[in-house]
């Protein structure tokens, strides 16, 4: 059990450190694509630093839940990042939670955030909570289906063993993963509040989802939530990488393997972030009423992925 401890610690630390950088990288790429002068790569870290130094301003009538939620959400995201095989597949924590539980952890964070948003009782909070739940309850089944597709191939729902099987199978192409890949991309765009579902940089009341949720937070609370949001993007990117591009992960705890895995991960993330930025730059944000359609498409594609696997795989 202790064998993977170093890998596990390194994975968590990498997640904590790299997540804001990934957000910064996407923002930087977008700025380049839009011919703006780009913020530095570590801009999110600077923002976090600034926010942590400020004091907390609590709204009147805020319950203890409101103050507790940032910590809980942050904990959820760290847990999620800990059980996703980012650097190695030998993770001591991965026995704690499998793919289904991972979706549950992500859902828990969402519910907590929505509760906190409604706790204050402002109109924006409730609106954001409602929209976020709408996206969430449509996206989660699709995400589950994507994970099931991969799980069917690996005969296990534990993420680490799933990725292990996917990474070490013979040179084989799984058609079901084509569907799962498209569905997963759509879901992660929706879940992370990127264009075309949500715009992370807008405060326009007609369209915002995520920003409306966290409007009442300030100081270190806000910092934690922003950090958690970056972690969520990081987690989704890593799930995508782990499922669809699993090569280059360390199978054991040897320092050399981990040392190799880290740059590979960074390279893959950089590529993924750049693709995300391009996709965001070329697409227009859709109307909120189209979001259910969009997620229904993702769900149907994910289910077809499962079906294709059943048709071809056995």
């Amino acid at each position: 059990m202790a064998s993977g401890l170093a890998g596990q610690m390194l994975a968590i630390l990498a997640a904590l450190a790299l997540a804001p950088i990934l957000s910064g990288w996407v923002a930087q790429c977008r700025a380049w694509l839009q011919s703006r002068s780009a913020p530095p790569l570590w801009q999110p870290w600077l923002v976090l630093h600034k926010l942590f130094l400020r004091e907390v301003v609590l709204a009147q009538g805020a319950s203890p839940l409101f103050s507790a939620v940032p910590f809980l959400v942050f904990a959820c995201m760290v847990t999620a990042c800990a059980i996703i095989p980012t650097l190695s597949t030998d993770l001591p924590l991965s026995v704690v939670a499998d793919a289904v539980a991972l979706v549950g952890v992500l859902a828990l964070a969402r519910v907590l955030l929505s509760l906190a948003a409604m706790d204050i009782g402002t109109a924006f909070g409730s609106l954001g909570a409602r929209r976020d739940m709408l996206v969430g309850f449509l996206a989660e089944p699709a995400l589950l289906m994507v994970l099931f597709t991969a799980a069917l191939g690996a005969h296990s729902t534990a993420l680490a063993s799933m990725v292990d099987v996917l990474a070490h199978r013979e040179l084989a192409i799984l058609p079901s993963l084509a569907f799962a890949g498209v569905a997963f991309t759509m879901v992660s765009v929706a879940e992370n509040g990127r264009i075309p579902v949500d715009n992370p940089t807008t405060h326009l009341e007609l369209t915002m989802i995520h920003e409306a949720l966290i409007l009442e937070y300030s100081g270190p609370h806000l910092a934690l939530i922003e950090w958690a949001a970056s972690l969520k993007l990081f987690a989704y990117s890593c799930i995508g990488i782990a499922l669809f591009f699993p090569w280059g992960l360390a199978a054991n705890d040897s320092p050399l393997a981990l040392l190799f895995a880290l740059p590979i991960l960074v390279a893959k993330l950089a590529l993924g972030g750049a693709v995300l930025a391009v996709a965001e730059s070329v697409s227009a944000k859709m109307r909120i009423f189209r979001v259910p359609e969009y997620l229904a498409i993702a769900f149907v594609l994910a289910v077809i992925g499962v079906l294709v696997h059943i048709l071809l795989g056995s």
């Binding site: 192409i173 058609p175 569907f179 940089t201 359609e293 077809i304 294709v308 059943i310």
Partner: protein
């Protein structure tokens, strides 16, 4: 069977899956020009599958079939359709999709049905890519769904062509293509059919035009409402900071 052909087989399955993916893309796409692009792409997938099967089985006539598909369905028919869309001034117009989630779920049911029907047969087949049968059948049924869920004439034409692609995918993967004479005949029929439909679309437009001068909406006017449409409200585009 060596590694190379195993990869080839899996590639065929993958391409068939991509073809089904494109069929769903056709089902949910609103923009007419994008529909044509998707169709051309689906045909291209068919070309690759056909040449791949030809390479794996060593049947020369499949290359000919692939070339025919390439010329006809990847180049000629999409170009004709593009010209049609341009002549009818439909480049920017959208097809209406009512109840998209319901249509999608129906599509899902069709896929389940197709897979269920094809499974026992796929296991019998001695052909190299037997699993493709179910995917092809699903593609045909999804094309059928598109046909009945669309109101625009040109979308219906594309749905028809997409179904035809599905049939050819099945024919290629399951039986290594039909005899060459039959394939030629089918190709000619399809080409003539598309030409006829193109002529029809023009005349339907004329009919609709003369209709707009006065008088109640007729079936044809509903079938193909022509000319530049009233621009729809643009999608809300958020400002970039």
């Amino acid at each position: 069977m060596n590694d190379l052909s195993t990869v080839g087989l899996q590639l065929i399955d993958l391409l068939a899956a991509v073809s089904l993916l494109l069929a769903f893309g056709l089902l949910i796409q609103r923009r007419l020009t994008a529909l044509i692009d998707f169709y051309a792409l689906q045909s291209l997938v068919l070309v690759i599958v056909t040449s791949l099967v030809g390479w794996l089985t060593g049947q020369r006539h499949l290359y000919l079939s692939a070339a025919l598909t390439m010329v006809l369905k990847v180049l000629l028919i999409p170009i004709l359709l593009y010209r049609l869309v341009r002549r009818l001034r439909l480049e920017t117009s959208h097809d209406t999709l009512v109840k998209l989630p319901a249509t999608l779920l129906l599509g899902l049911l069709l896929v389940i049905f197709a897979f269920d029907v094809a499974r026992p047969i796929a296991q019998l087949s001695t052909a190299i890519a037997s699993g493709t049968l179910g995917i092809a059948l699903a593609g045909i049924l999804v094309g059928f769904l598109m046909m009945i869920s669309r109101s625009r004439a040109i979308s219906q034409v594309i749905a028809f062509l997409a179904m035809e692609n599905g049939v050819f995918l099945a024919a290629t993967a399951v039986t290594h293509g039909m005899p060459m004479v039959v394939e030629l005949g089918i190709a000619v029929d399809v080409l003539i059919g598309v030409l006829i439909l193109g002529v029809f679309l023009f005349h339907l437009q004329d009919a609709a035009d003369s209709l707009e001068a006065g008088g109640p909406a007729s079936p044809t006017a509903r079938l193909e409402r022509s000319g530049p449409e009233t621009p729809k409200p643009r999608k809300a585009r958020t400002q970039t900071p």
